[in-house]
Symmetry: C2
Subunit: 251 residues, 2 copies
DNA sequence: CGCGAGCTTGATGCCGATCAATGCATGTGG
DNA sequence: CCACATGCATTGATCGGCATCAAGCTCGCG
């Protein structure tokens, strides 16, 4: 496992590389596409997911207009997705971490409708979409799980709409931080100590705020003793204080 | 067809009724789930979609927490979907019209995560989801089309995020009106004359604005000669003027 | 006719955007 | 190793768009 990780890092400059760990041996199995499927399915899925790709920090996994052929399961790293309007304003639509799926936006039109940019050196597993459809016609558990993933993405988007449409700046940042720590905890990381992989501007874009507003909100949280902020190093001191903000007791 | 519509309206008080028109004879076929599938598939889909339900104006088709079992294809009428936070603020996440699908939010957790409320007396066709999954394992065209529908919903949500995160009040309303007229045109209605089925407050909730702001934006558009507004009766005089706003030339 | 829900319009205030200056960390070339 | 550039973050001062509060208006309906 350790040597595996090491060799992967060593080969990081290769854009496309043969696959080294089957889904069955991947420590993200419980978070990723293979969740809750049988041995036989897992076997077939593993053989389908035959290539991996490395994406350096700042590079695009795909961009608006790129032909869609595969979904991408994040094996390691961190991404943002963003859309933009004709006149150049852009909106970060999400941040994705290990075990999460990228590329669902492309299914509808066979072209990607957003950019996916790596916020740190990352690796993704390619899941050829036609093959996934074929396989999910064979295995109802896989089919079901894939449908759940898409549906949850829709539900997540609704949550972001609620945030953008009805919350104030500090509530938004609190909700964002709680969401991040929640997802990190699921992955076995500390819930209280985290390193942001994105800039204030990217957070602001996601939350519908300007970077100065994000910065001020961080400072305010620090003054109130909810957080310790050192650039991108965040220590959450009072998660319940953040939760209270989200729940609107701060009105 | 006329008598069909008539009897349906007469039976509107019945909540659940036997199905009278198969998908193959439905004039929404080209907009709805059956799009682009073979005769054999259409036959099977029709027999699966065996019940219809009437929902009176103001009533809920489903609510947060309701068990999920079916998707709903809107046969006639108009709906809104909304989510709400713990402290009661709620956010309209979409408006749905004939030929569109409701209920995708429920797949992920087997419970609905939003409310779907009829904004006028409406009828929906029930699509039992397990049966749809079964059928889409048999027919790859149906499978593919269903995946496209889900993906497009995700892409639509991204568009709403862009709107909520980066547009100003008048841009939001312009984008909203253009989207509505576009969808009405697809259904054979005039692109210039429409009757809003929702209140200013519901529009405001969807757009992340207060009802007064929506009202003022309507008045402004009228003053500028872009629209004629009489309560919920809207005549679009200069669609290109609205388009220009969305494109950001107004900055 | 009178009630009430929904819409319009005005006056005021506040939150977050904008503009601007400074600080801080990292990297690069002389 | 220092000087300098660069990208990102912080903080302050000011401004503007939208929310808020408030008052009347319109229209459908019992």
């Amino acid at each position: 496992m350790m040597s595996e990780t090491h060799s992967a890092v060593a080969a990081a400059q290769l854009r496309i590389e043969p696959f080294k760990v089957a889904c069955s041996g991947c420590n993200l199995r419980e978070l990723c596409l293979p969740l809750g499927i049988s041995e036989a399915e897992l076997e077939r899925l593993s053989s389908m997911v035959a290539t991996r790709r490395s994406v350096a920090r700042g590079e695009a996994l795909f961009r608006v207009g790129d032909p869609f052929a595969s979904l991408y399961a994040i094996r390691a790293g961190f991404f943002k997705t963003s859309v933009s309007s004709e006149d150049g304003r852009d909106q970060v639509t999400g941040f994705q971490m290990a075990g999460e799926l990228l590329g669902l936006d492309g299914i509808g039109t066979d072209r990607h409708t957003c950019d996916a940019i790596a916020l740190e050196d990352s690796q993704v597993c390619l899941i050829p979409f036609h093959q996934l459809e074929d396989l999910s016609r064979e295995f109802s558990d896989l089919q079901r799980h894939f449908h759940r993933i898409m549906s949850r993405e829709i539900v997540r988007d609704h949550g972001v709409m609620l945030l953008l449409g009805s919350m104030r700046a500090e509530e938004r940042l609190a909700a964002f931080l709680l969401n991040l720590t929640q997802r990190l905890r699921t992955r076995g990381y500390s819930a209280s100590s985290l390193v942001l992989r994105m800039t204030r501007e990217e957070i602001g874009s996601y939350l519908g705020l300007k970077l100065e507003t994000v910065s001020r909100a961080f400072s305010k949280f620090q003054d109130e003793g909810l957080l310790e902020v050192k650039q991108r190093q965040i220590h959450v001191l009072k998660p319940e204080g953040l939760q209270a903000l989200v729940n609107g007791s701060g009105c």
